[in-house]
Amino acid sequence: MKLDILYFAWVRERVGHSQETYETSAATVADLIAELVARDAGYAAAFADLSAICVAVDQELCDFTTPLVDCREVAFFPPMTGG
């Protein structure tokens, strides 16, 4: 499955880019994170503390157990600070 992965704020800074297209067979968000972390030190640093990571699948907030079935876009970011 081909996914667009987006990164925001300090997650983006640690990963080193804001967006990429990624081919994966990961079944869940947690599986995808495990694949990314294995790629290089930047990803490992970005995902070192999962309690500080939020995820949206196809632009809906979800959690690490969310399955990646037929989805097109996954975004990772720190807790939001709007307002």
């Binding site: 987006l6 925001f8 876009e73 720190p78 807790p79 939001m80 600070t81 307002g83």
Partner: protein, 155 residues
């Protein structure tokens, strides 16, 4: 209900006047604006990043929820992104209801959701440093209080 995400500044007074002019059954209008604050005197500017694909839909959803939950006639949310100087307005909400309690509660509810569930991230830049603003536990607690309040009413 209306929600806007924009880089440009907005005219708070003009927005509130326009909002009020469309009302037909409200006796109460509450408006709030959040402003870039410089706690230390060293802030050069704030940079606000957002998730373009998601932001507008999220603001719209929170405005709709506030209208539904508090029986508002109308709600408005405007939130900016990009580079902002100290003293500049970041965002505003306006709510209209028959009576003031619902208008205040609706605005408060909207603000709590914007703080913790709208996909914006603030970075504070000074001459010496650049720091992402951390989310506060109290903001999560404020959000949780709305859920437990609903649960208490329903039980």
């Amino acid at each position: 209900m209306s929600a806007r995400v924009q880089e440009a500044a907005f005219d708070f007074a003009a927005e509130v006047t326009a909002f009020q002019s469309t009302l037909t059954r409200s006796g109460a209008v509450v408006s709030f604006t959040g402003v870039v604050r410089d706690d230390t005197g060293s802030l050069d500017h704030m940079f606000i990043e957002h998730y373009p694909g998601m932001t507008h839909a999220a603001l719209q959803k929170f405005a709709d929820q506030a209208v539904e939950k508090f029986g508002l006639e109308k709600a408005l949310v405007i939130h900016r992104y990009g580079r902002l100087q100290p003293g500049e307005a970041i965002m505003m909400v306006a709510t209209a209801a028959a009576h003031r309690k619902d208008a205040f509660a609706g605005a408060d509810y909207l603000m709590d959701y914007l703080k913790s569930r709208a996909p914006f991230w603030k970075k504070e830049l000074s001459k010496e440093s650049a720091t992402w603003v951390a989310a506060k536990d109290q903001d999560e607690a404020a959000l949780a209080a709305w859920s437990s309040e609903s649960a208490a009413k329903e039980s």
